[in-house]
Symmetry: C2
Subunit: 512 residues, 2 copies
């Protein structure tokens, strides 16, 4: 890596100011930028390419588990939100509200909402779609034969945010929301678990994120859910990011929306429903988990481009030959398969200095950079730089050998990112059994770096909301999940906050 005096491409560094480092990475990698509309972001092509890959790979997993996509209205009548009491408490607070359906020019010559076009019932831009989809399912379901309904929707949602942060928390964001209805409780619970596993697989194998999977405490549940399962990632400032949730809704929403069916026994019953979602927040999560002080580092499985070829053309007379050789190499690479699809390769032909281009691609986090110059043509060689190694580190390879092993190299980067993130997570996850140690763990050591704290604590809990509340007030620490893995839960113990019995350890952390 860089020597101690070396400059980094991103200022400040992670150690200096993690939050600001993140903003600078998003900017420098041309992933996204704030828009003039408060709280809304513009997702730039490089960032959207990442999301498209996540989306395509996840969509294939949804279809392989029997789901189909559909589309429901953007607008939700206010009265729908009132149907599920817990839901309205949790979601109705910060919504974009549509009150008019026309503009007109006012007396001052400026445009304004036309008073004559005020809606009888205001509409809310969906913050999530349980209510509107529930109303639709109620029409579709009459008999047990109409179940299960296994539908997913890719769409935009809006939750007004006062303190937006690109990808992690914006007023508008993109996501998918699965909504299923089932004949039995067991089927619905099985579905909830199945989709959590899909998310965990996506996080671990595609995004190289070693997530913890488990259940939320009652206080952290989705408003209206009976059970919320989640995956939680640790990023490099040791905070947690909830990367995906899967909710078992019991019959709550079915009752609120009237999703009733005639059972096999001839009785009228309410359906059992689930919902599950992940969002563009995954992009922020992987950036915070893998990036370094030179910018983004993208996991090869979701990188929009796997290999960028940087032709070195110092002299006019060799320029054409180098560019032609770069195209030949690009096409050979595109014929190689990585996880079933041809490699995405870009030849950067822009008329800019080699150093400028190289640094742009470092900051963007492309997995492999390949330099190809006049002397390489003679020798049949290439100079290969891996984004997971030091920025100055190059390997000189025969072009044939590079092509033959490129898929393996990409997989090695993918595996390396996962291993690095796992090591960081495990290093900063600690079993803690006393209140004092717990407080010390989460209390910053250095007043100048108020963000640096211990990480994840696996600590017993008596199951009470009072303890959760107290810990949150004292330390801004919450229960991220009750881990499903018995090795983490570790069986019964004693809550260090109250001395009462605890069924198992739970995972505590500060979070985004």
């Amino acid at each position: 890596m860089n020597g101690s005096a070396a400059k980094t491409a991103i200022t400040p560094t992670r150690a200096e100011n993690f939050a600001e480092w993140y903003q600078q990475v998003v900017r420098a990698a041309e992933l996204a930028e704030p828009s003039d509309v408060r709280g809304c972001m513009v997702i730039k092509p490089w960032g959207f390419g990442l999301w498209e890959n996540i989306q395509r790979q996840m969509d294939a997993m949804f279809k392989a588990t029997g789901h189909r996509n559909a589309y429901f209205p953007l607008f939700i009548p206010i009265s729908y939100l009132e149907k599920e009491a817990a839901h309205v408490e949790g979601f109705a607070k910060e919504c974009a509200v549509v009150t008019h359906h026309r503009l007109e020019v006012g007396a001052d010559g400026k445009m304004r909402p036309a008073p004559s076009a005020e809606l009888t019932e205001p509409l809310v831009i969906r913050p999530t779609s349980e209510t509107i989809i529930g109303a639709t399912y109620a029409k579709w379901v009459q008999s047990y034969r109409d179940l299960p309904i296994l539908i997913n929707q890719w769409c935009n949602v809006v939750r007004w945010e006062m303190r937006p942060r690109l990808f992690l928390r914006t007023a508008e964001f993109l996501w998918q929301e699965g909504h299923t209805a089932h004949e039995t409780e067991a089927e619905a619970r099985e579905e909830t678990q199945r989709m959590l596993e899909v998310y965990a697989t996506l996080a671990r194998e595609h995004l190289a994120l070693p997530v913890y999977a488990g259940e939320k405490s009652a206080g952290e549940r989705f408003p209206g859910a009976v059970q919320t399962l989640c995956i939680e990632a640790m990023v490099q400032d040791r905070k947690a990011i909830q990367a995906g949730t899967s909710h078992f809704l019991g019959q709550n929403f079915a009752k609120a929306s009237g999703i009733k069916f005639q059972s096999r026994a001839g009785a009228e019953e309410f359906a059992w429903t689930t919902s599950w979602g992940v969002s563009t927040r995954l992009v922020g999560t992987l950036l915070m988990a893998h990036g370094d002080d030179d910018g983004a580092i993208l996991p090869p499985r979701v990188a929009p481009t796997h290999v960028v070829i940087l032709p070195i053309t110092p002299k006019a007379e060799t320029r054409d030959a180098v560019l032609a050789a770069a195209d030949v190499l690009a096409n050979r690479l595109r014929e190689q398969k990585f996880h079933g699809a041809g490699l995405e390769v870009e030849v950067d032909r822009r008329d800019l200095g080699g150093g400028v281009k190289n640094w742009e691609w470092i900051k963007k986090g492309v997995p492999l950079r390949v330099e190809l110059g006049p002397r390489d043509l003679e020798k049949g060689s290439v100079a290969v730089a891996r984004r997971d190694r030091g920025v100055k580190e190059k390997e000189f390879l025969a072009a044939d050998a590079f092509v033959a092993q490129v898929a393996a190299t990409l997989q090695s980067i993918q595996d390396g990112l996962f291993a690095r993130a796992l090591a960081q997570r495990d290093e900063h996850t600690r079993r803690i059994d006393s209140r004092e140690e717990f407080h010390a763990f989460f209390t910053p050591k250095n007043a100048e770096k108020p963000e640096v704290h211990g990480g994840f604590a696996l600590t017993h809990w008596d199951g009470s909301a009072a303890v959760e509340e107290q810990v949150k007030n004292d330390l801004k620490v919450t229960i991220r999940c009750i881990p499903a893995d018995a090795a983490l839960g570790g069986g019964p113990g004693v809550c260090p906050f109250t001395g009462k019995p605890s069924a198992q350890r739970v995972l505590w952390a500060k979070s985004y």
Copy 2:
């Protein structure tokens, strides 16, 4: 086809009431349904599957022409709409206006927009994104080196509609909007033309729609555009549907948004921009173009399922063998390629009567239905029904032969749909040279069927807005396009409405 006394699956028939036939087809095929939110539809899985295929195929064409996807905010500040005078006239009228960002419980116990959370500047839900994207491009472009910008966005848009019709005209719809910025006028004009050709190819080769391509008259142009190119399809009631538009925006939006750059000569210049879009309206268009009195007929290239296998299981003792054989056949079919991808095959194992299932698939418009029963197993045969033939028509084939020729059969259906639509269009497109004949052509013959009229007229026009206005008032007929094809334009002539000279024939029709 059905005999004269035969019942059809859809009531009314096309001849009886085309508008109502269409609504019934959309419902019977389970493509979409109205939602409780006025003007908004629910796109059901079968309809969304169609749109996904159109989307995926079009997206590949966009990428092959150098475009990348990105995402811009749903919300547009009112002040942005005021920037381009013609644009505001055309679009600001019927918009969803967001005025508040929070709900609260009012004195009556009902939810209401919180008066304390009124926005300083109301936001409009994007009816199209030229203004917000223009504001962003203005930040991205400094030098000619930053051009061209070639970006597309897949998203939802809202244009308040008082008379919604599923897929064709809804308050919210899904679409793509391409937005590009160029260094020169010539490049921008070339882009406008290139994307029109992409749309024409999509319509003709993927959707089996024989569209006319041309330019809009000034009166029918996109608000703010210098030139609007379009493709126009004829559907079975002989009306036109605009199936895609590509706009050359000149420097109008660049000036309104401030997209300036330093040119190669060092001068400050405004960029030249384009925009182009197609929407879920394409789904409505292909349904109206190809459907028959038994329901939808989907072009194989975009059908969510190519082949449905209907196992015939009259006896319990042969049931397992038939279902197993159906799965074997399905897997063999999935290995066949149609336009580069494996076939989409469904085995309908539902425990419903064979007739019920068969009719469901007829109404859904799946290209091929295959019956497989106990006797077929003995003979190694299948009974194949093509959706483009009569519903009772079956061909008995050796299973091997069917598998070997299935891709060719699908292409034959695809080609046949195009040929049928082309014949219908050509039969009802007429060169008309007198005002009287023009009026007679567009005047319904039968008061009981006020919708039945001639079709498309290729008639000279003096180029005046006055003639357009008059014809529109008299007959509800508009200029759909000034055809690019010289064989249609036919060179100079005389306008039958004014006797003035006309540069070429233009295409007139009633339209959706």
